[in-house]
Symmetry: D2
Subunit: 162 residues, 4 copies
């Protein structure tokens, strides 16, 4: 069984046509898994719905506790890209032994249709969580990075090995 924890981020942002602002509603994950015709044994739980710039260490402790609390060793976390690396680092240092934890997100909201990278990233992250050995990883741009060897380039929006 694979556990998916939803934390928000661009991945799940929607457009409010009255205010013209981006906001969070329900996660797009169930629809995406359905469209992907996914037959994996999955459990999806929303932990929070926030912009990753607003994620605090208290939130990260909450995520870590949830990772520890589930029986499965395969965990996928959807997360905003701005602080995805910080959360990966936090989880790695909490020494959640024996679990494969993959964080992914999107640069363009899934709700924005044919320009979004989210659906591709979800397929990629679900595969990595099944096939990689225990550890904490970031899956973006078709690649996976160990938590301590990645940074987001804030001017290009791409993740890079460091």
């Amino acid at each position: 069984m694979i556990q998916i924890f939803v934390t928000g981020g661009t991945f799940d942002k929607e457009y409010n046509f009255v205010t013209g602002k981006l906001f969070f509603q329900d996660s797009n994950l169930p629809e995406m898994l359905d469209r992907g015709r996914c037959t994996l044994d999955l459990n999806v739980r929303t932990l929070m719905m926030v912009d990753s710039l607003e994620i605090t260490d208290l939130d990260r402790e909450n995520i870590a506790n949830n990772c520890r609390g589930v029986e499965t060793n395969q965990i996928l976390i959807t997360h905003g890209t701005d602080t995805m690396v910080e959360t990966a680092e936090y989880l790695a240092q909490k020494a959640i032994a024996g679990k494969t934890i993959v964080l992914t997100g999107a640069m363009i909201p899934y709700a924005f249709g044919s320009s979004s990278d989210g659906f591709f990233n979800l397929g990629s992250a679900l595969a990595f969580v099944q096939a990689l050995p225990p550890g904490v990883y970031v899956a973006m741009n078709g690649r996976y990075f160990n938590w301590d060897a990645v940074q987001k380039n804030r001017s290009t929006g791409y993740f890079e090995a460091v």
Copy 2:
């Protein structure tokens, strides 16, 4: 480096608005990799553009030769779903030692927009080809299957372990 071989299949079918029939034009892969913001080192080569019901053992020998001929050990093949398992079996029996070969496709053409599973499957297959040990695999429905342990259920359209 990852080698991608394109063979056609529903994945790359387009709609001809004059005849109302499905047909093949250029592969959607370059656009999909761009949209997926993919930064992997990839080489894409189209071997054929056919419905997989029309793939012969001569075609399969061509695919096998191409798999042998490239230096890389990571090979992704886009393929129609109807005979994807047969091609996987053929490649496995040709004993292409030491290479990870992943076949994927789509149930709904990528060109048909927001209902297609193709973009998800591509992300998934690219991840599996990086993370799985040498062997021949089918990647569909978010999962991977060993070539000798999978069948397509022709009434539901899902791939199943056997």
Copy 3:
């Protein structure tokens, strides 16, 4: 009040992922009107769901009867493009006096997403049915044509004045 009669055509074709064939399910019109945020007073009724190459004069008599039978003078008909002009001619000759009847359709199914012309054509046809004087018209390619001054160019797929 505007009466919409649905007869099928490419406009409403769907892709069957098991057989790989196009087929008809329910009309996309309710979803399209919702997405168009349409607040017109509309009544939608499906008369048939067929490829327009299969429409017979019996079917056309059925459509004509329905046009006569409704009280409103504003009628929109979704129809396959191949025989749209024939049906327009049939309705015009049945001398349904005092009614504005607009036929429209699509060259690419609405279900095929971001390449379809259907949503644009629907907006166009709904506007023409409100603003044109009584008569029978074809609305395609952003334009309207009188029933007796139009033909479909079968090699390009565009409607032309004759």
Copy 4:
């Protein structure tokens, strides 16, 4: 010939994946007209690319001058919805006699794909500009409104007759 003046608005907003903000790039109109398979004789000119909350009376005078300056009597203006009615009123009071001027826009950016009303509104507005008598109109929600008989309901986002 129909003259289209582009002024910006939600219709043409794009998503900047680096900053996460909405912004203006080139207008989507050429792509939309192509997708709509539009064969009308059109001239498209971008006058400004702004959020309609930022449109001043100086901008409106610029729009009015352009309306007067073109020879054609059929003019379509894409415009943000927030002050669309104000601009319609301004143009009406400038007494541009003998011209049919239709303003339209979108509640959801065209670039956001399958949820946007923009493509439907464009089809609708292009039809109204061909079929309505001289005057200044707002075309939204599938309907047309005279400039002096419409308001935008800011809590629902729908245009209403007053």
